[in-house]
Symmetry: C2
Subunit: 246 residues, 2 copies
Amino acid sequence: MALTTIGFDADDTLWHSESHFLLTTERFCELLAPWTQSSRLQNPSSAKSSQRDLIETQLINIERRNLRLLGYGAKAFTLSMIETAIEVSAGEIPASAIAEILEWGHELLNHPVELLDGVTDTLDALAGSYELLLITKGDLLHQESKIAKSGIAPVFSGIEILSNKTAASYERVLQQRSVPAKEFLMVGNSVRSDVLPVLELGAQAVHVPYHVTWALEEHDSTDLHAEQFHSCRHISELPELLSRLN
Amino acid sequence: MALTTIGFDADDTLWHSESHFLLTTERFCELLAPWTQSSRLQNPSSAKSSQRDLIETQLINIERRNLRLLGYGAKAFTLSMIETAIEVSAGEIPASAIAEILEWGHELLNHPVELLDGVTDTLDALAGSYELLLITKGDLLHQESKIAKSGIAPVFSGIEILSNKTAASYERVLQQRSVPAKEFLMVGNSVRSDVLPVLELGAQAVHVPYHVTWALEEHDSTDLHAEQFHSCRHISELPELLSRLN
């Protein structure tokens, strides 16, 4: 059965996102550095990197613990940073540092949308032959605002903002549009969110890696040999891959 | 044209919500009381209530300022409480107090869903004669979680979680389902969100007040004399009102 419908993830597939979070994480680790103990470590430079790693690990653990309640996105991330700051500093962090974290949260929500190279041309090339869907997850308002700012919304025949990307949530999206799984292919940077649940439905998926992956989205793709699984180094390779598949 | 489709707001229309936020606001004002100045006020009891009002006013101002960026819901509220605490205390608030605010945020997100009196019977009475839609706004994950916990999801033929309730967002919901505005009636506790944008579309609306209204939803309904506007003291009056209208 020929493909009729292509789904696109948004963050780190169509526009930069994780790089902003990564930069904020670096500033966060620097902010907290004075509150970490390194007395047991001998080498000052390795001590510094170990401190940083300890803070980042603690942040990731707290994000993971909060995921069920706070979900994905910049507001959840900001709340988890504040919680981590209080824990790592054993309650010693001053309000001025928390105010700085709040400000970073606002900056994350306010960032201009920077499309990845090749996105506009690729979408334009495909729009004549396929129905294009944008399927993203995270903060409802923030995702809507990024879609509006991106300028590429008109190319999509449908936009779906999900709280989480599971086989069940993809299935609902396809059912609502009467698209059989065999006619659907999803494109995204996250094996966990954009590939595995889609393969589970019997649809196809293309992994286009972003240069950084958030720890909670990390997933090894080396063991993925399903016939429905493809990968591209760059989104601009997509039209050629699709003409081979169809 | 006869009504075919009834939309229901969720928070404070089907289940308690604002009462939890109000309780949290009270605890917040108490927490911050030590940092407010009352030297200019003579009467201790009026001084106390003025302090409380000052803190609440500042919280509402900060919520209003953050609305465009943070949107609606418990995560936005928690972030605004933290920002207010830092401002009101001029940066003197200790991390332990911020940790308490974070904990209240988690409690707000984790609350059991308590349906309002008469909701189940009313929905059951209407489900045979109308398409019922649940149309709510706020945190995507939190709203989904409340809908799942409520046990009443199966009675609705559609569920829409919006970032904001405007004439345009209601119009999109109706268009997606091919429901003419003349066949639609919306039921909710907020004149600003559930009544005015719906009347603007030429649809009908029933205001069912909740015993408290969030400051940012407050709107005077005394000047509303449109033929499409109705009000009930209680949701259980709805079936009778509808049979009069149809």
